[in-house]
C-alpha cells in the first residue's frame, strides 16, 4: 500500500469524489462509521425533542405555584423520564455519534476497528428508546424515582406487576450500558491501533484525546453501574435484599455503585465537548491551540481524578465527616486540569483574528456558560454549601449550565462546524445565528433563575411551590419556551440545507486536520491512500494559506 504525505492534498485537489448523498442508507444496517455516526446523531436529536417536550410540560406546570396542569405522579414520571432520556438517549448517543463520524477520519483510518460491533451498538439505542417509552403504557406508568433510581423509592412497586415502569427503566439503562461498553471497546482499540502512519499520540487532535479519555471512563465506570442495576432489578422483581433496608440491605451501597459511574459520567459528557472547543477555537481564531500537549494530557488526568470523587454526591447521605473532607478535597482537584483547559482556550482566542461564524458563536457561548457552571460546581463541592443547597434548585441550575450550557451548545457548535463535511452542503448562516441567539438567551433565562431559587430554598422535584418563588419561576418558564422555539430554526436549517444547500468545498473553514483533506462528504473508505502525518495538529499561523504551515513539508518525500 502506498501513502501520500498529507501536505500534497488540499482543497483544490480532491482525491476522490464524495459519497453519494443517498438518504436511504441512513435507514439501513450499515457498517460505515460515517453512516453510523449520522444515525446516532439523528436518532439522538429525535429523543432530544422528546426530552425537551417533557421539560416544556414541567415548566408549564411550574409557571404557576399550584399543581394545576398535571398531578404530582405525572410530574414525578416526567422529571424521571426527562432526565433519563436526555442523558441516555440524547447526550451519550449524540457525542458517540460525533466521535464515530470524526475519529477514524481524524486519525487517518478507513473505519472503526470493529465495524459490525459498531453497528450493533448503534441499533441498541432505538431499542433502549422503545423500552423506555413503553413504560408509559404499563400499569402505574413510568418510573417515578428520578434518574438516580435510589432505593428504597425505586424498590416500591405499588402496582404489584412484574413488568412495571421501574423494571423497564432498569432494563433500558442496562442495555444502554452494554451498548456503550461495546462502543468503548471499539473506540479504544481504534485509537490505539488504527492510526495512520506518523500519527503519534502527540499528533492526535485534542478531540481524539478527549474521546479516548471519555471512553476509558465508560470502560471502568459503566460495569459498576450495571452491577448496581442488576442487583436493584433482583430486589424489585424477586425480592432479594441487597439494597432493601427492611430486609437488612444497605441502600447507601446502591448510591456508591451509582455515583462511582455517574460522577465520572459527567466527564464522558463534557470531555468530548472540551474536544469540540479545542477544534473550533483554533480554526476561528487562526491560531494553534495554546498548550496543546497540556490540553491533551489533562483529559487523561481528568479521567483518573474524576474516579476518586464520587462521594461528593452523597455528602447528605450519612457520609462520615472524614470522608466528606477527603472527597471535598479530591473534588476540588478536578478543577485544576479543567481550569488548565479553560485557560488554554482563552489563550488561544486571545489576540486571534476571530471569525464569528455560527460554530464559533456556539463554542464561545458554551464556554461562557461552562465557566459559570464551574464556579457553582466548586461551591457545591464544598461540604457546608452542599449541605445547605442539596436537593434545591441550585443544583438543578448548576447541572443545567453544564449539560445545556456547555454540552448542548458545544454539540451545536460541532454540528455546524462539521455539517459541510458530513453532508457536502453549507448551512444557512443567518438561520444559524438566529438559532444561536435564541438558544443563548433562552438557556440563561431558563437556568439562571434556578440559582436564586435554590439559595432561597426552593426544593427540586416538586410540582407546586410557595408563591414567594413565583417571580423567578415565571422567568425560567419563559426561558424554557424560548429554548423550545429555538430548535425550530435549527431543524429548518439542517433539513433545508441538506436538501438544497450550496455545495460545500472539502475545507470550508480552511482548517487543519485530516478530516478536511478528503472530499465533502468523504468517500466510503475515507482515504484513497492512507495519509502520512508529519506534523503536530493546529499548525495555524496568523496570515497563512494553510498548506504552508504543515511543516516540515518535504519530510516524507
Amino acid at each position: 500500500m502506498t501513502n501520500v504525505p498529507v501536505e500534497t492534498l488540499n482543497e483544490t485537489q480532491q482525491p476522490v469524489p464524495g459519497a453519494p448523498n443517498n438518504w436511504r442508507r441512513f435507514f439501513s444496517f450499515s457498517t460505515d462509521h460515517k453512516v453510523i455516526g449520522i444515525q446516532y446523531i439523528v436518532t439522538s436529536f429525535f429523543f432530544f425533542l422528546v426530552g425537551g417536550l417533557f421539560a416544556m410540560i414541567m415548566r408549564g406546570e411550574l409557571i404557576t405555584p399550584e399543581a394545576d396542569l398535571i398531578d404530582r405522579t405525572v410530574y414525578n414520571a416526567l422529571f424521571t423520564m426527562h432526565g433519563t432520556v436526555m442523558l441516555f438517549l440524547w447526550t451519550f448517543p449524540v457525542l458517540v455519534g460525533l466521535a464515530n463520524y470524526l475519529v477514524p477520519l481524524m486519525i487517518g483510518a478507513r473505519d472503526m476497528a470493529f465495524p459490525r460491533l459498531n453497528a450493533a451498538a448503534f441499533w441498541m439505542v432505538p431499542v433502549v428508546g422503545i423500552l423506555l417509552m413503553s413504560s408509559f403504557l404499563v400499569p402505574g406508568g413510568p418510573s417515578q424515582s428520578g434518574w438516580w433510581a435510589y432505593p428504597p423509592n425505586s424498590i416500591q412497586n405499588p402496582t404489584g406487576n412484574l413488568i412495571n415502569g421501574q423494571v423497564l427503566w432498569l432494563l433500558a439503562v442496562a442495555l444502554s450500558g452494554v451498548s456503550s461498553i461495546m462502543g468503548a471497546v471499539n473506540f479504544v482499540t481504534t485509537i490505539a491501533r488504527m492510526r495512520a502512519p506518523g500519527m503519534t499520540l502527540f499528533r492526535m487532535p485534542a478531540f481524539v484525546w478527549a474521546v479516548l479519555s471519555a471512553q476509558l471512563i465508560q470502560l471502568y465506570g459503566l460495569p459498576a453501574l450495571t452491577a448496581g442495576a442488576v442487583m436493584l432489578l433482583f430486589d424489585i422483581t424477586v425480592g432479594t435484599s441487597f439494597f432493601n433496608p427492611e430486609t437488612g440491605g444497605n441502600p447507601v451501597l446502591y448510591q456508591h455503585f451509582f455515583w462511582f459511574y455517574s460522577h465520572p459520567a459527567v466527564y464522558v459528557i463534557i470531555l468530548p465537548v472540551f474536544g469540540i472547543f479545542s477544534e473550533v477555537f483554533p480554526t476561528f481564531a487562526r491560531k494553534p491551540l495554546f498548550g496543546y500537549r497540556v490540553v491533551a494530557v489533562s483529559s487523561i488526568l481528568i479521567t483518573f481524578v474524576s474516579s476518586l470523587v464520587w462521594v461528593h454526591h452523597m455528602f447528605a447521605s450519612y457520609t462520615p465527616g472524614w470522608m466528606r473532607i477527603l472527597f471535598m478535597v479530591t473534588s476540588m482537584c478536578v478543577a485544576v486540569p479543567t481550569g488548565v483547559k479553560v485557560f488554554a482556550w482563552v489563550a488561544t482566542i486571545w489576540g486571534g483574528k476571530l471569525r464569528l461564524d455560527t460554530p464559533m458563536l456556539f463554542a464561545l457561548g458554551g464556554l461562557v456558560m461552562f465557566v459559570f457552571s464551574g464556579i457553582t460546581g466548586i461551591m457545591l463541592a464544598s461540604v457546608p454549601v452542599d449541605i445547605h443547597v442539596n436537593n434545591t434548585y441550585f443544583v438543578v441550575g448548576h447541572f443545567h449550565y453544564v449539560i445545556y450550557g456547555a454540552t448542548v451548545l458545544g454539540v451545536y457548535a460541532a454540528i455546524y462546524y462539521w455539517f459541510p463535511k458530513m453532508t457536502g452542503k453549507m448551512y444557512y448562516e443567518g438561520l444559524g445565528k438566529l438559532h444561536f441567539w435564541l438558544t443563548f438567551i433562552g438557556a440563561n433565562l431558563n437556568f439562571f433563575p434556578m440559582h436564586p431559587l435554590g439559595l432561597q430554598g426552593m426544593p427540586r422535584r416538586v410540582a407546586s411551590y410557595d408563591p414567594e418563588f413565583a417571580f423567578w419561576n415565571v422567568l425560567a418558564s419563559l426561558g424554557a419556551f424560548l429554548l423550545g422555539m429555538s430548535t425550530l430554526p435549527f431543524i429548518l436549517n439542517m433539513v433545508s440545507s441538506w436538501i438544497q444547500g450550496k455545495p460545500a468545498p472539502a475545507n470550508p473553514w480552511r482548517a487543519i486536520g485530516l478530516e478536511w483533506l478528503v472530499a465533502s462528504p468523504p468517500p466510503v473508505e475515507n482515504f484513497e491512500e492512507l495519509p502520512i502525518v508529519t506534523a503536530p495538529p493546529y499548525g495555524y499561523g496568523s496570515n497563512e494559506p494553510l498548506t504552508e504551515n504543515l511543516s516540515p513539508s518535504n519530510a516524507a518525500n
Binding site: 483510518a109 476497528a113 502512519p197 506518523g198 460495569p223 433482583f234 432479594t240 444497605n250 508529519t534 516524507a556
Partner: protein, 202 residues
C-alpha cells in the same frame, strides 16, 4: 533534524500499514479491553460483598451457620488446574499437532463441566435461597454470575472444538482459540477471589 524525521516517518509508516491488515491483532486487543471492563463488574460485586458483610447485622440467614468448604475446594482445584490443561492444548496447536490440541481441549471442557455439576449439587443441598437475606442473595448472585461465565467458556470451547474439524480455516494462531483460553484463565482467577471471599472468609 530533517533527515531523522524522514526515517522516523518511514518506519512508522510500514508499522501502521501492518496494523491496518492485522485484524486478529485488533480483535485480541479489543478482547483484552473487554475483559478488563468485565472484571470491573466482578470487582463491583466483590466490593459490595465486602461492604455488606462488614456492615450487616444479621449476615447469615436464620438457622445457617456457615458453608461447607470441602467440596468447593475440590471444585476449585479442578477448575484451577484446567487453566494448565488449556495452556497445554494451546501449545499443541502451536506445534500444529491437531489431535493433541483436541485431546487436551476436551479434558479442559470435562473439567469445566465437572465444576459446574459440582456447583449445581452444592446449590441443591443448601438450606437457604436467593431471597434468604443479604447473604443468600450475594451467594447466589456471585456464584451464579461466575457459573454463567464458566458455561459461556464451555460453549466457546465446544465451538472451537467443532471448528477444528472443519477443513481449511484452522491455523495454529486461531484468534478464537486464543480468546477462549484467555477467557478461561480470566474465569479461573475470578473464581479464586470468589472462593477466598465466600468460603474462606466466613
Amino acid at each position: 533534524m530533517e533527515s531523522s524525521l524522514e526515517t522516523q516517518t518511514v518506519s512508522v509508516a510500514s508499522h501502521a500499514v501492518e496494523h491496518e491488515h492485522d485484524e486478529a491483532g485488533n480483535s485480541k486487543f479489543g478482547f483484552i479491553v473487554f475483559l478488563l471492563s468485565e472484571s470491573v463488574v466482578f470487582l463491583s460485586f466483590f466490593g459490595g460483598y465486602i461492604i455488606l458483610k462488614t456492615t450487616t447485622a444479621d449476615w447469615l440467614p436464620p438457622g445457617v451457620t456457615g458453608l461447607d468448604t470441602q467440596e468447593p475446594l475440590i471444585n476449585t482445584i479442578v477448575l484451577v488446574s484446567s487453566s494448565f490443561v488449556i495452556y497445554v492444548a494451546e501449545r499443541f496447536l502451536h506445534k500444529e499437532n491437531l489431535w493433541g490440541f483436541r485431546a487436551f481441549w476436551l479434558v479442559t471442557m470435562a473439567m469445566g463441566t465437572f465444576f459446574l455439576v459440582g456447583q449445581a449439587r452444592e446449590w441443591a443441598g443448601l438450606p437457604f435461597g436467593f431471597t434468604s437475606g443479604v447473604f443468600g442473595g450475594l451467594f447466589y448472585l456471585l456464584t451464579g454470575f461466575h457459573g454463567l461465565h464458566v458455561a459461556t467458556g464451555i460453549l466457546l470451547q465446544t465451538i472451537m472444538l467443532g471448528r477444528s474439524f472443519l477443513p481449511g480455516n484452522y491455523d495454529k494462531g486461531s484468534f478464537g482459540v486464543e480468546a477462549t483460553s484467555l477467557f478461561w484463565h480470566f474465569v479461573d482467577v475470578i473464581w479464586i477471589i470468589l472462593f477466598v471471599l465466600i468460603y474462606l472468609w466466613q
